[in-house]
């Protein structure tokens, strides 16, 4: 029998979830809703009796102290005062509650459940129009990509696909002309260009047969931009033009941008502590005598645009699997997440068709990260959130994970004869075409066409996988491991078997439901799966480990030595490809790239006498304001390793620079993680943007007491469509910046990622995101007890500026609040910069810094204000003491020149500090004061800012106090 069990709050019990939705409805601009109640609905069917259902409801599903249950399909009449909607998952979308609820029912001794799904039911009380109700449903309560509103007595689909009958499908390529080839590529969502399609045709012509659908999909996935990084590895004709004064033209031909910039830094620096770089899932560096650490940052932009909650959650899930799959697997110990969204106050009418509102995207992404990261038990201890209207159609979601692994587990190699074991979650129809989809641009049709590319994750499946994999690793039971990321089995097995060859029997893969075709099994991107290469003699011991903790593991094939990829479905060969062609047959891109230096309007001097309002505005700007609302939702302390948390200061709410963790309780060695990102500088010059991002990431490492000695970088490029020369031009220019600055600082890159085609097309017109480079730094700190935070500590201490302030207002937040961009973006002088970094680091090591804060958005003044209100102290500051050639108050106050810090030093340490800093530009700006006043005296000696720190803090905290 089928039972519908609704669990709802007892009358009078406060419903915080309903209350949250009520708040969100108000945000939509809909008033009149008095109350929202949410109930959970369970649909259970199988061989169960009514008394079973009653027991399940009473003992398991309802918490009788706060809740009550209703069994049965009692129709409830909606009235004008109350509207009701029931939201269910679409067929084929995983319901994360299903597995655990079924287990619990079995634990009760009830074994007949055959089907279980959950739904949510919303009761909305108040006077709203039909149209308001529709808006609430569509904009808040469900996302049609994965869910729908149940209409009447819905016939629930028990199997997403019904039965599947094998039929081999071939694609007629041999008979296809160029037009037809492109049609095949487009209609099959292969995202392959003509040259590539021709190459494939040529290959099969030689074989004298047409490809199967599975073969074509395998090639498309392997050759996708997402997996193949064709742009970075291709040939580029590059031209750089600066017009007007000092005009110049520079032309060059670049053969493999990756190898000639980012990777070149590492190859030239040859740091002995770099263990594995640019080869594996993540970069690996040495930590101590026993262990190595690894770091990877991924992007999950397109899925997060369509389904923010699932997209962000699976983004985290994916990068965690990167760490589980690096070498022989590492233990994930920290997450970092960086997001770029449209402006939260965007008018609803200005949101492009088919897109979600930035605020909804942000709330969805944050809760996705929260629910996945927190459940995985990995602290999300670091991150950033940025806003710009050009991210409205295409938000960016960067997810990063740090892992730790024993030194001898850093490399892998499958062996001939090893078994291919699929472990973890089951394969379903979720996430078909993710790899190719993410290589194309978003349109307003994306949500319907590519909806299958969006998935819901199940973190508990991944947590179980993590626990058991690490046990199997420590017993040396497998020779190689790879995650099923974009491209599913196709990419995992294809990658592992590159040097060997593999045979797979696809029907052996465990499925979530019947009805998947052989190709769907092969390319599905269902989450939480890994592939292992297991020597036959270890199989039993390995299977035992997984079985003990209820993790599914199945042999699906074996590695061969004939360098062929052979796939069968119930004995029928459905794919037989040469590994050489698959991995090396891809024709290289030849592309044009042009960068022309843009000319922006200058903000110009304003001869203002008071800058208090400017400071308040900057502190309240979306990028600078407090992100506490986000941070507190993340468990940033699980695993108990945090040394510096993301929020610091007397009330634990100031903006810390970088986070530090200490992965071993009995050692003082720590890991610093930081991020540098500032797309506004890229509006002016991507080269200096890249330079500034590197400088910022390193500044944060130094500010918390780290050093450059064992610091490594990750690059993460999110760009527009690089088929277009201007987009590619700025990408090239940014890459040059990466090379020059990282090599001058002597800091290697260890891994990276690119996500191109971040464009959104409306009415045929393409809008590109600002080319956005994220530089993440990871650094090994020898003694975490030397760490420094940014909050002022004691009254009377001296306040120093370290580093030279220049007239570099271009891209600054001062210009932003004055509606301009400007042209002089901050540059980096690595020669003086290196000295500043090393000396500041020494000062921290010697305990001379009571506080230190890196200068970024808002310059000196914003940093001082943050230090003051975080510490609960005021400050008296004299701009005259700041080393700066430009004699203008606003430049000293707000310029965002690189490689600068504010340091707090005890009076008794003045001499030691100043003599240590000899040869480095510093200035004694003033003192920490006991009073709560924040006063700045301009070059003329007159007050230019006078405000209480409470007011500053309020301005900073208010915008995202949601």
């Amino acid at each position: 029998m089928e039972f519908k069990i609704e669990i709802r709050n007892r009358y009078g019990v406060f419903d915080p979830l309903g209350n949250g939705i009520k708040k969100n409805i108000k945000d939509l601009g809909i008033s009149g809703v008095k109350k929202v109640n949410v109930s959970q609905v369970f649909i259970i069917s199988g061989d169960i009796s009514e008394s079973d259902a009653k027991r399940i409801a009473e003992e398991l599903l309802a918490d009788f102290i706060t809740e009550e249950y209703i069994i049965g399909h009692k129709p409830q009449a909606a009235s004008r005062k109350q509207r009701i909607v029931e939201i269910a998952y679409n067929p084929g979308v995983m319901d994360p509650v299903e597995e655990s609820a079924r287990k619990a029912i079995r634990d009760m001794g009830i074994y007949g459940v055959k089907f279980l799904r959950t739904e949510r039911k919303y009761y909305i009380e108040g006077k709203i129009t039909e149209n308001d109700f529709k808006n609430i449903c569509e904009k808040l309560l469900y996302n049609k990509v994965i869910q729908h509103a149940v209409k009447g007595e819905e016939l629930r689909v028990k199997d997403a696909g019904g039965g599947y009958k094998f039929k081999l499908i071939t694609v007629d390529m041999l008979g296809a002309d160029d037009k037809k080839l492109m049609k095949i590529s487009k209609s099959g969502q292969l995202f392959l260009n003509l040259k590539e399609m021709q190459e494939i045709k040529k290959y099969f012509k030689k074989l004298g047969r047409n490809p199967t659908d599975c073969e074509l999909e395998t090639i498309a996935q392997t050759w996708s931009e997402h997996c193949g990084h064709k742009t970075f590895r291709g040939v580029i004709d590059y031209e750089e033009r600066v017009e007007g004064e000092g005009s110049r033209v520079k032309k060059s031909r670049i053969d493999n941008l990756l190898k000639s910039t980012v990777m070149k830094v590492t190859n030239e620096l040859k740091k002995p502590w770099c263990v594995s770089v640019f080869k594996d899932n993540a970069g690996i560096i040495r930590f101590d005598d026993e262990d190595n650490i690894c770091f990877k940052v991924e992007t999950h932009n397109h899925p997060s645009a369509l389904e923010p909650y699932g997209g962000a959650g699976t983004g985290i899930g994916g990068v965690i699997r990167d760490i589980l799959g690096v070498g022989l697997g590492a233990k994930p110990i920290m997450n970092t997440d960086i997001f770029c969204f449209g402006l939260p106050d965007t008018a609803h009418k200005n949101v492009p068709k088919g897109m979600l509102h930035p605020k909804r995207i942000m709330k969805g992404v944050v809760s996705g990260v929260r629910d996945y990261g927190n459940r995985m038990g990995i602290p999300t201890a670091n991150g950033a959130v940025l806003f710009d209207e050009r991210y409205t159609g295409n938000p960016l979601v960067y997810c990063g994970t740090v892992g730790i692994m024993p030194k001898d587990k850093s490399f892998k190699a499958s062996q001939f004869g090893d078994l291919i074991v699929a472990v973890g979650g089951r394969t379903g129809r979720d996430g078909i075409h993710g790899a190719t989809f993410s290589s194309g641009e978003l349109t307003h049709e994306s949500e319907t066409v590519s909806g299958g590319a969006v998935q819901i994750g199940n973190p508990i499946t991944e947590k179980k996988l993590t626990d058991t994999l690490l046990k199997a690793r420590d017993r040396n039971l497998y020779t190689a491991i790879t995650d099923c990321g974009a491209g599913g089995f196709s990419s995992a097995v294809g990658e592992m078997a590159q040097e060997l060859g593999a045979e797979v029997d696809l029907e052996k893969a465990p499925l979530k439901y019947k009805g998947l075709s052989y190709t769907e099994i092969w390319i599905s991107e269902a989450q939480e799966r890994m592939v292992l290469s297991v020597p036959r003699e270890n199989l039993k011991e390995l299977m035992d480990i997984f079985k003990k903790e209820d993790v599914e593991a199945v042999v699906i094939g074996c590695f061969t030595s004939n360098k062929r990829l052979k796939l069968r479905y119930n004995g029928n060969v459905v794919c037989d490809l040469d590994m050489g062609f698959l991995h090396d047959g891809i024709p290289r891109f030849e592309r044009k790239a042009v960068w022309v230096k843009p000319a922006h309007k200058e903000c110009g001097p304003k001869n203002k006498k008071d800058f208090t309002q400017d400071l308040l505005k900057i502190l309240s700007s979306w990028n600078v304001c407090s992100k506490e609302w986000v941070i507190r939702q993340y468990d940033h302390e699980v695993q108990g390793q945090s040394v510096l948390k993301p929020l610091v200061g007397i009330k634990n709410d100031g903006p810390g620079d970088a986070s530090i963790i200490r992965p071993k309780f009995d050692s003082r060695k720590g890991i610093i993680v930081s991020n540098g990102i500032n797309p506004r500088f890229g509006f002016i010059d991507p080269y200096w943007m890249a330079a500034s991002c590197i400088d910022e990431a390193l500044r944060q490492v130094i500010a918390v007491g780290g050093s450059l000695k064992k610091t490594a970088l990750l690059d993460n490029f999110c760009w527009g469509n690089t088929d277009k020369p201007d987009r590619l031009g700025s990408l090239v220019r940014a890459s040059f910046g990466c090379y020059d600055i990282a090599s001058s600082y002597g800091v290697p890159f260890i891994s990276g990622k690119d996500s191109l085609n971040n464009e959104y097309s409306v009415h045929g017109e393409s809008v590109s995101i600002p080319g956005t480079l994220l530089i993440s730094a990871i650094s090994v700190m020898d003694d975490v007890t030397k760490a420094v935070t940014m909050d002022f500590k004691e009254k009377g201490n001296l306040i120093y500026i370290i580093g030279q302030t220049k007239d570099e207002m271009g891209g600054s937040h001062y210009n932003l609040i004055n509606n301009s961009i400007g042209n002089n973006a901050p540059m980096v002088d690595p020669r003086s910069g290196l000295k500043i970094f090393n000396r500041t680091s020494e000062a921290a090591e010697l305990g001379l810094l009571r506080a230190c804060h890196d200068l970024s958005e808002g310059g000196i003044t914003a940093a001082l204000a943050e230090m003051a209100f975080s510490g609960g102290f005021g400050a008296e500051i004299r701009l005259k003491a700041a080393p700066c050639e430009a004699k203008r108050d606003e430049v000293i106050l707000f310029s965002e020149s690189n490689t600068r810090f504010i340091a707090e030093v005890r009076k008794e340490d003045k001499k030691r500090f100043e003599s240590l800093m000899k040869g480095v530009t510093i200035g004694l700006l003033g003192e920490v004061s006991e009073k709560k006043d924040f006063r700045v005296y301009g070059l003329q000696g007159k007050k230019v800012i006078d405000v209480s720190i409470d007011k500053l803090k309020e301005a900073w905290q208010k915008p995202l106090r949601w």
Partner: protein
Amino acid sequence: MKKPRAIVLRTAGTNCDNETASAFKIAGSVSELVHINELVRGEKFLKDFQILAIPGGFTYGDDIASGKILANEIKYKLNEDLKNFINSGKLVIGICNGFQVLVKAGILPGINKGAIESTLSFNDSGSFIDKWVELEPCTRCVWTKGLKETIYLPIAHGEGKFIPKDSDVLNQLKKNKQIVFKYVDNPNGSIDNIAGICDTTGRVLGLMPHPERHILGTQHPRWTREGLKERGDGFAIFKNGVDYVKEKL
């Protein structure tokens, strides 16, 4: 004397197991991570230990309700063993998700044995929250012996609002001195600011804050301001548990 033995119970979604085991080790016990399947299948035995810790996490995803599925499993699969364990004078601590499990399995508050007398429900804010809180200890519980001043620990939960079944239960809790910790500044709407309770014996403790996350001085959010201490406030709780076993069991 042999070292006390603490079992740290794991299952799918447990995630504070390592730091909890470390805390017990630092406090002087042997601690072993054991998966619940090992107990259910008879590969390991509760009776071989003197302390049971149910650590934090999201067991089974907190699907249905936080801690509910593990509570259900314990009720159906380990009920007798656990009863015997408690009745033989041994110690139990449930932290965060472990507290939720103890409450939903009817082990806490244990005024009427096995009855569900309270629950932990969604925070009033409707959202997960990670922050540090001051806690007022107010009891005779074995685990909090000697604690007189407020202690400082982090919370990290979405469902931490303590609700007793009715005013009778609340009065009993007060009368029996079963309220072990109260929030100085209530972060989640808990009735009577309750952050942790013990059973009528004082040997079974459940609390939402995480003592295992404040063992080292560097875990304190303001150690760079206030100076580095050798041990964090959470350490005393583990030390009390281990010392009790050393003295009494």
